[in-house]
């Protein structure tokens, strides 16, 4: 009977051994993107070199993604744009996670009233759609890359703060924390040595999924013209420029868009995979 109880009822655990070709593709693609971030000239030439004689050329062996309205090579621009777009996403995610961890800990460990005040603030901030919250921030702080990063960081903070707060409540009641209290651990030691490490556990995994979302929002806002300004090769801005030539040159916007999409999907797929591993489930 013991055997029957430990065997999976619905056969879900068999998924663990099934090869996951999608994940491998996602990992390889992300590795390529990271290489492009670190060393763009390995793949592509000058993203700003205009060639007036070869304007809006279709994809070919020479120009893999074709050329845009100024004759610039779209593939080169996508490769160089990886650095812009990903660093905006990473910076925004770092802001959101660090602020979120701080606020979530304060809410989770603080007085009941402090918790109530923080939680209501998170609730109120979550009532704004993320894109509009970022728009509001940009309206206050002005357009530009820095303000785009901070805007996305601020807009995503409540999400992390809530996760950390909930996790803090779980950890606070754990047996090892009670034991540490019984052994006379001081409050700072309790927080740093026992609560913090266990609260932080799920954060990297959530941050990978969140990074995908940050890249998505960043591309959206810079598509609206609120990010890095032309001629810098940012993915969202490229799509926005290409939109104007859609009727004669689909490649100038669709191909960069596919790269953005593949990046976000890869990040999300990997993040979810880690999440399942972390939770010990494979559903």
């Amino acid at each position: 009977m013991t055997l029957a109880l430990t065997r999976p009822v619905t056969g879900r655990l068999r998924l663990r051994t099934r090869p996951r070709p999608g994940l491998a593709v996602a990992a390889v693609f992300l590795a390529l993107i990271l290489t492009a971030v670190a060393w763009p000239s390995l793949f592509g030439g000058d993203p700003l070199a205009a060639d007036p004689l070869n304007v809006l050329q279709a994809p070919s062996a020479r120009h893999w993604f074709g050329t845009d309205q100024l004759g610039r090579d779209v593939f080169d621009r996508v490769v160089h744009g990886a650095r812009h777009s990903l660093s905006i996403g990473v910076a925004a995610t770092l802001i959101a996670t660090s602020t979120g961890i701080l606020l979530g800990l304060l809410a989770g460990l603080g007085h009941r009233y402090a918790d109530e005040a923080f939680s209501r603030t998170f609730d109120a901030l979550s009532a704004f759609p993320i894109v509009l919250l970022a728009l509001l921030f940009i309206a206050v702080a002005g357009t530009g890359t820095t303000s785009l990063i901070v805007a996305i960081g601020v807009a995503l903070t409540p999400h992390y703060a809530r996760v950390v707060r909930a996790q803090t409540f779980v950890v606070r009641r754990a047996a090892y924390v009670t034991h540490a209290v019984a052994f006379g651990a001081s409050r700072p030691r309790l927080v740093v040595r026992h609560v913090l490490p266990n609260v932080l556990g799920p954060i990297p995994v959530i941050a990978v999924i969140g990074l995908g979302e940050a890249v998505l929002i960043a591309a959206g806002l810079s598509f609206l013209g609120l990010g890095p300004q032309p001629p810098s090769p940012e993915w969202g801005a490229m799509l926005s420029e290409g939109r104007g030539y859609l009727h004669i040159a689909w490649w100038a916007s669709v191909l960069p868009g596919l790269v953005v999409t593949a990046t976000i999907i890869s990040l999300t797929a990997l993040g979810r995979h880690f999440q399942r591993r972390f939770e010990g489930r494979t559903a």
């Binding site: 009532a127 704004f128 728009l135 509001l136 591309a219 969202g236 939109r243 669709v254």
Partner: protein
């Protein structure tokens, strides 16, 4: 606890969130760069006399707290101030653009929910599910502007089936609504499928099967009701995504609407209009969320007790 007090508590919580959101928006107005008088004058003539007139007209000489309370009081009455740029009441500027965006959001919500239910209920075979859950991941992760651009280039530019831009008639609504609805469909389908899987493992599903019901009937009559609950709880979030997404979709498809108003106001530094759109979106979110909570009470009697 009675149903009435459960309803009251949810409505009160909604009002608190709304108040906090309006306050946050007011703080943003205060934090906006530059003097408010400068923003109102803009490029117009700037003399001490005109400045004094502006201060008198907008009553900026009152204490900050009084101005804040006045702002809240007027906001409750639907008066959201005047646009710096257009010198017209914000309610008029925004009000004229609510319907095009609302139309788009509703069309997208209907399309998205229908597609999600079809995907979650109809696709039950293992291989089809794997395909469908990959499709859902793609739908959720694809930036809406890419979906829009691809649909535009295929259906409008290649085949000429739908208009390229504008808001005339039903045909102009199809592509934007599909674009906006696909990410919603992806997420809702995932939530619904998880709910269905859990519900089908419950004892009542076994009982229904034992009574000789076909799997389809078990699914449609018994499991779906349970699976709907988490999906309904997402309704407020869904509307937030729809309104946020409409900013981008309106830009892609050249449609009029709140997104265009907000975008122009952001680039022009017209804070009252930006704040009005943001607060309006928050209001919609809170109202839909409260309604979804109440719908939850209706669907699940267990929630009425706690």
């Amino acid at each position: 606890m009675s149903v009435a007090s459960a309803v009251l508590r949810r409505v009160a919580a909604g009002i608190v969130v709304l108040w906090a959101a309006a306050t946050a928006a007011y703080l943003a107005l205060l934090a906006a760069p530059g003097d408010m008088v400068d923003s109102i004058i803009g490029d117009g003539a700037d003399t001490p006399q005109i400045r004094a007139e502006v201060i008198a007209e907008w009553r900026l000489d009152r204490p900050a707290l009084v101005q804040y309370l006045d702002y809240l009081w007027r906001a409750v009455q639907g008066d959201l101030g005047r646009s710096y740029l257009l010198q017209r009441p914000v309610a008029d500027v925004v009000g004229a653009q609510v319907w095009p965006t609302l139309k788009l959001a509703i069309a997208a919500a209907v399309f998205g929910s229908l597609l999600a239910v079809i995907l979650a209920v109809a696709i039950r075979r293992p291989w089809a599910r794997r395909f469908s859950s990959t499709a859902e991941l793609v739908m959720v992760s694809t930036p809406p502007f890419l979906i829009g651009i691809v649909l535009l280039s295929v259906f409008s530019f290649q085949f000429g089936l739908f208009p390229v831009s504008g808001d005339r008639g039903f045909a102009a609504l199809v592509l934007p609504a599909v674009t906006l609805g696909l990410p919603i469909a992806g997420l809702l389908a995932q939530v619904l499928r998880d709910g269905l899987d859990r519900a089908l493992d419950e004892p009542f599903a076994v009982t229904a099967r034992a009574r000789g019901l076909r799997e389809r009937s078990v699914l449609a009559r018994h499991a779906l009701r349970h699976a709907l609950l988490p999906a309904v709880a997402l309704a407020g979030w869904t509307f937030g995504v729809l309104i946020g997404g409409s900013v981008i979709i309106e830009q892609v498809f050249g449609r009029p609407g709140l997104g265009q108003v907000a975008l122009q106001a952001v680039s022009a530094g017209d804070m009252p209009v930006v704040i009005a759109v943001v607060v309006l979106a928050a209001t919609v979110f809170v109202v839909v969320n409260t309604l979804a909570d109440l719908a939850g009470l209706l669907i699940d009697p267990r929630l009425r007790r706690s």
